[in-house]
Amino acid sequence: MSTKPYRLAEGGSRIDRSRKVTFSFDGKDISGFAGDTLASAVLASGQKLFGRSFKYHRPRGLVGLGSEEMNALIGVGVGSRHEPNLRATQIEIFDGLAAESQNRWPSLKYDIGAINSKFSRFLPAGFYYKTFMWPKSFWKHVYEPFIRKAAGLGKAPEGRDPDMYEHMHVHADVIIIGGGLAGLTAAEAAASTGVKVLLCDENPVLGGIADLTAGMIDGECVEAYTTAAAARLAAKSNVHILTRTTVVGHFHHNYLMAFERVGDHDPAILASGAPKHRLWKIRADKVVVATGALERPIAFANNDRPNIMLASAVRGLLDRYGVTPGSNGVVFTNNDDAYLTAFALKKAGVNVRIVDSRSRSDGTLVKRAIAAGIDVQLSSVISAVEGTVGVTAVKIAAYRKGQGRVITEKRVDCDFIAMSGGWNPALHIWCHNGGKIQFDDRLQSFRPKSHTDNIVAIGAANGTMSVEATLAEAQTLAKKTKTFKVEEPSRGALESLWFAPATGKYNEGNKHFIDFQNDVTAADLELAQREGYESVEHTKRYTTFGMATDQGKTSNLNGLGVISEATGKTIPEIGVTTFRPPYTPYSFGSIAGSLTNDLFLPIRRTPIFEWHMEHGAVFEPVGQWRRSYTYPQASEDKHQAINREILCVRNKVGLLDASTLGKIEIKGPDAAEFLDRIYTNTFSTLKVGKCRYGLMMNELGFLTDDGVTVRLAEDHFIMHTTSGGADRIGAWLEEWLQTEWTQYKVFVTPVTEQWAQFAVAGPRARDVLSKLSPDFDISNEAFPHMSFRQGLIGGYPVRVYRISFSGELSYEVATPANFGQGLWNAIMEAGDEFGLSAYGTEALHVLRAEKGYIVVGDESDGTVTPIDVGLEGMVSKKKPDFIGKRSLEQSFLKGPNRKQLVGLFTADPTEVLPDGAYAVAQAKDKPPMEMIGQVTSTYMSPTLGRSIAMALIENGRARMGEVISFPLEGGKVMKATITDTVFYDKEGGRIHG
């Protein structure tokens, strides 16, 4: 043997021996060849250990060949480019690749957590539920930190992901999932009819496992056929081929999602500016599932030792990469297929024997093996494995079906095992959207039965395991079917083997692993049955069987087999757990796509946005809007700036950009009647040129929006909504008009962005506007509170509403959006001599709270009625019907124990209650305490020189003057006196000034 005994002297269809590639694994430099996977290159270097298991930290090696791999989960890349939990069997190596093993500390070889294995009898199924129940106080400081440290596989990357990701949308007449023998044949058949075909395969090379399949098609090996078919398809203009692309889910109406690893295998691709991953969103008329089948492991004692692999994986390593797991192997099988692995090993000069649990097989391959002089032991199982970080020997025991104990056994030296428990059709995609399945005795597995979508399964995915039948099945999409001359070995029947009896009892040092990734053993599943978890869905959740990142690809059927033997029910009686997307994990980056940073959410800017930027505004998000929170000047902090802005409005005059306020035009002969249905109060009595504050309830009787609506003409209103509610209320009005009161002749037109709108508020507001020579009489008498004028101000066309949300003399001036900045500048200039200053949303909120004005969304939370907030007077008693009226009449919404809006004065005027703080009936040392309400708005009021708050308190209005307690974190209790909600200018004279 050479210096690398695991790399054979020749062979390896996927590797290029002339191109050496060097990468690092756990800090150690390893070299392989171009075309190697991380799995094949690391194994070729002589390392069998790839990771530690999740619960017991047992040493683990490779098991599979592709995406079914459950043990060798690897973190790839460093820092912000690190990606955890990738399967070593799918990672293509390149120079400079940095990979590391996971779930071990301090190193893969010496792992502290492996002690769990020694205590495994204390970690049975459901041990979280059993162990961590008591004492209660241990949860926070002992159990939770322990579980958090122990749980989870791999580590998250650090920092922002520097790579690019994208979403792609595509329509296809036919999508073919899987580019193996079946998929390629089906693609050619479909393409021949001229339709648009999309072919997706998760591997870098098309062909599936054709190269590992026995047989001849028209005189050529199966791989030669698939290679030629792939080349023909690549040349077709109506065929789109995506390799390294896993279809991860199938959804309603043939919507599919596929994950493409664009740049993972080659840094040059990333460097060229291509995205790292793509997420394809596909709509197809027809779906063809050609996903093949996955080989099952066998549950025998310590079947998780490194160098125990699936027979197909061993065959793949030999054939594709010229790598052997060892020099002396045992093939353990219950079917004929694994004999192909024995032939491949023998051909490569590796010593091999076959252990077959069946008493006989009349298949060609078995006869051929015996004829070739391979030691075939029928009616035998592996009953024990020696070695911990590898295999040194096995014990082979005589076996007949149904036998539970080992009677005789003999020891045989070996250094690896290739196992095959049969093949499971990969049903995941078939089942994601409700496909029905049936149990197939021949396969001892499930296969597709029926589906309501336009979808078919073909080939191994359909349980069709022969080459000839697959070729025939794959041509159902063609107009003219081809016939092929196929020669393939005849197969003997498979015999199920769900549990191979062991030396001693399986719970004494031996573990029969079913779910390798989540460390679930046959004993765990049996325990779950004894403890009454009869439903397979309950067993799954109790034992975590099938719940790891591989989603039970290799473990599902074996688990059902064990449950079947433990309960005496048949597998179809037990049923399967639900298959859910994704088929394999895909990256968060691909889910986000390009929708990050500036593209994450569109930002809405008012016409004055640039001005706010230039004047140092601090912004806050209000829905998608960015509103100015405050404008700190030179040396001010935010708090000082807010106080200055508030006092400026109270004493002089302020200017607010209120353009975000929702504006909806309502026009038509029935507009007034419609508004009477929408609002709790009456609008049909509103005179033209007047404004009225309105409350809206939903049909449940709860507050949903509020605002001032203005009658511009007999049949024409403009409704103001909250900034956040504009879109919702607009759609809501449309809904009522279209679906309920279809007789109304009314148009509803959202015009929020058509208008720039500013509040000019404060005692000098009229002086400022007068200076801009309005072309209408602006005097208090001619233009009183709650009225409207249209005209020119400073030469700009305006609608002026004399309404106030601050309690001061106030005008809201609206002008078409494009005039907004000009008018804003004109007002700023005119206001200069009166001390005008811009104010932001925080000042606005304090000003309104000082006056006890509610904000829907602060004082209300979707369970608050107009009566609760003290606005019963605004709920019409005359109108026969409006939205929410009947619900509001329900007794429990009028009952005595509702929370009611009140004001609060804290005992210490310098202390501000925290927003949302709970009021309790009686403060105690520790919970539980009876809660009687919560703070809804709370501020330091510069006008009053003390803190103020509003709160919803049970029976609040009957408790005026009462002192109530607010227990805070850290044991502190704040006291506050219940008061009226109007803190400032109770008589309300200033508004009319």
Binding site: F251, H252, T452, E699, A731, E735, P880, Q890
Partner: protein
């Protein structure tokens, strides 16, 4: 992800281009007679909905198209849209006949009203 086609403007799109509006043909008692609604009638109007396995009748809005509301008959098992029809209309007669359970009762009542 369903594909929905608007019967008003003929636009076809993913369900995210539309807005699902819950069960169709829910009658608002207050529109007919606002002064005589029992608590039970109001409860049924607000909260009681059918949940059939099979043929169901729903409201949808063409959100990113014409903005109009419409009705749809959809099979909740196969997800097939059997028909779409106007927001003030009843479903095609053959679908009313096909409907089961509470839907069958409802349509019988509506047909009787018509007659």
């Amino acid at each position: 992800m369903l594909v929905v086609t608007c019967p008003i403007c003929n636009a076809s799109g993913d369900e995210t281009d539309f807005h699902y509006g819950g069960q169709a043909h829910v009658r608002r008692p207050a529109t007919a007679d606002p002064l005589n609604i029992t608590d039970e009638e109001q409860r049924d109007y607000l909260f009681i909905r059918h949940n059939p396995k099979g043929l169901h009748f729903e409201r949808w809005r063409c959100d990113r198209g014409c903005g109009k509301w419409f009705h749809a008959a959809r099979d909740t098992v196969t997800m097939e849209f059997k028909a779409t029809y106007g927001i003030t209309e009843l479903p095609p007669v053959e679908l009313m006949k096909e409907a089961k359970g509470p839907w069958a009762d409802y349509f019988k009542m509506r047909m009787k009203e018509k007659a």
